[in-house]
Amino acid sequence: MSRIKTLAGAVLATTLTAGLSTTTVAAAGETVKVGLMLPFSGIYAQLGEAGRDGLKLALKEHAEQLHGTKIEYIELDTEAKPSRAPELASSLLNQHEADFVIGPVHSGVAMGMIKMLRGKDTIMIIPNAGSAAATGPLCSPNVFRTSFSSWQPSYPMGKVALEKGYKKVYAISWNYGMGRESLDAFAESFEAGGGEIVEKVLLPFPSTNFQSHVSDIADENPDAVFTFFAGGGAIKFVKDYDAMGLRGKIPLLGSGFLTEGTLQAQGEAAEGVMTGLHYAEQLDVPKNQAFREAFNTEYGHYPDIYAVQGYDAGQAIANTIGELNGDISDKKAVISTMEKLTIDSPRGEFTFSRAHNPIQNIYLREVKDGVNVVQSVAAAALEDPARGCKL
């Protein structure tokens, strides 16, 4: 079978390399090159598109801050394949000489990009990938993140679980960076407060054969379940959990991605699921309402968290260019300006930590009538510990 897969991969790679699109905005005067390395095809395509749309909206809204500089976009499709990351990052760096590189969605791709871009003059802004290493051991002056670290949404949930009186928790996720880091972050605060992880299950990514584990949970009968799953896996897990009759009996907690962009498909099965995240679509922040309406006017549908993160990457670029009066030739000045920014985000204002990760609120949300309703601020101005970062 692996031969077939290799063959399929090769065919796919050739077709897509041929289709790389370069969008050029008419250049006049100073031109700022913004390279996008996002997945525009494959399972994360929708996330890549949302991030791009958010970014472009921010740069359009902040046009007067740009001091007449023109933005030239170079869009490269990563297909969320880590193996393509170094090649694409290198082409943005050397061939296109991009001033900013925005990407990626997938943490595996982030590793490949960082290896190529670390310590260079090009500023890299990560609009999603939550890998701890990006603002941890691999942190770098020119690498920023406008999304989250894997630690941030899960760490406060340990405290939440304890406050709700849960002592024994069953933890389950996929066996890859984001999954392991999410469970560890939860365990860190949960065990420190006297809680016990009765079982920790790590499934091979991206397996969605959950039914046997849900049966196992029923048999184990813990006080609560903590999980990280996203996308199709999140839908399947929440539906299986409900189908086996566990909803309403054993509370389900998770990192916020469990119920992001998946609620419609999960339907009633998601009711009552509690998650932690740095955003909620109905968040009561004036900037959020304004952003949602502006995005809807521009694109004809309401934005999701991935659009917010892309939008904030765009705001970071626009604000920096604005502060420097349009002159971004001195990269040291660009970095120190960006470090001091306060981003007026739809999630609420945030600043960058020393490792360049957002210092932001994590909200506790509960699904009610198909909406993630904010219950409380689970952790205010939470800063990622940035373990291993020497900045």
Binding site: I43, L202, T208, Q211, S212, M244, G245
Partner: protein, 287 residues
Amino acid sequence: MSTELIFVQLVNGIQYGLLLFLIASGLTLVFGVMGILNLAHGSMYMVGAYLVWYFVSITGSFTLSALLSAVIALGLGILIERVLIQRLYNRNHLDQVLLTIGMIFVFNSLQSILWGNDPYGVAVPDTLGGSVPFTDNSSYPIYRIFAALICIAIAAALYFVVSKTRLGMLIRAGESNREMVEALGVNIKSLYTIVFAIGVMLAAVSGIIAAPMRSIVPGMGESVLITCFVVVVIGGMGSIKGAFVGALLVGVISTFAAVLMPSMSNMIIYIFMILVLLVKPQGLFAK
């Protein structure tokens, strides 16, 4: 592991295995009768799931949507056989692989263009909504029992058609000696069209039945295709009985592996496949 949990997991495994059989049966039928290796079989599963989601979102009725989707899949099967597959009967397997891999890309792109890349879910139809008490803590959804029964019914129907009817006799005859069947005045061309279309429809019906239990996402066809090949290889390429036994084995083994050694669970069925091939290189029920 308590006896109760072993029983629960056995039920889970059988239920998963029955669904696997339904998907794999079409693949093995087409290979056994026509000698065509259809790598786009998983795409047909995906098409079934997306179609039923699409029609449910319009009509609101699962039964109506399921019937509509199955009929469209049958039509699609006839169309693909007439336009594409027919040109491949005298070519080698590599040409078939190239064409059917190409079809995977075409169907994935069509899915992306027609329905976008968001993950979707289909609600369980109301009449099959509830669940029956199962253990102290859990209950078993009626829809899953229903799905298992449908799979058994289709397996029985398939067995009946292949072994007891004139069509089945022709299929079996075509398998062993194509020229002779043609010489006896049977229109083998339309027989092949029917078989291929049934194969496509079986894959799509599996997608339809699985839709309320699974998430409908891009790439869902490929992941199921690989498991399907494992089932068919274990059972013996071309054998329906083999596919049935293989599917149940893979279903039960992967369910227990998932609980007992989660980190290795994806590997176990491949290791099992290797063991089977070491003892029986042609699979359990090869002809």
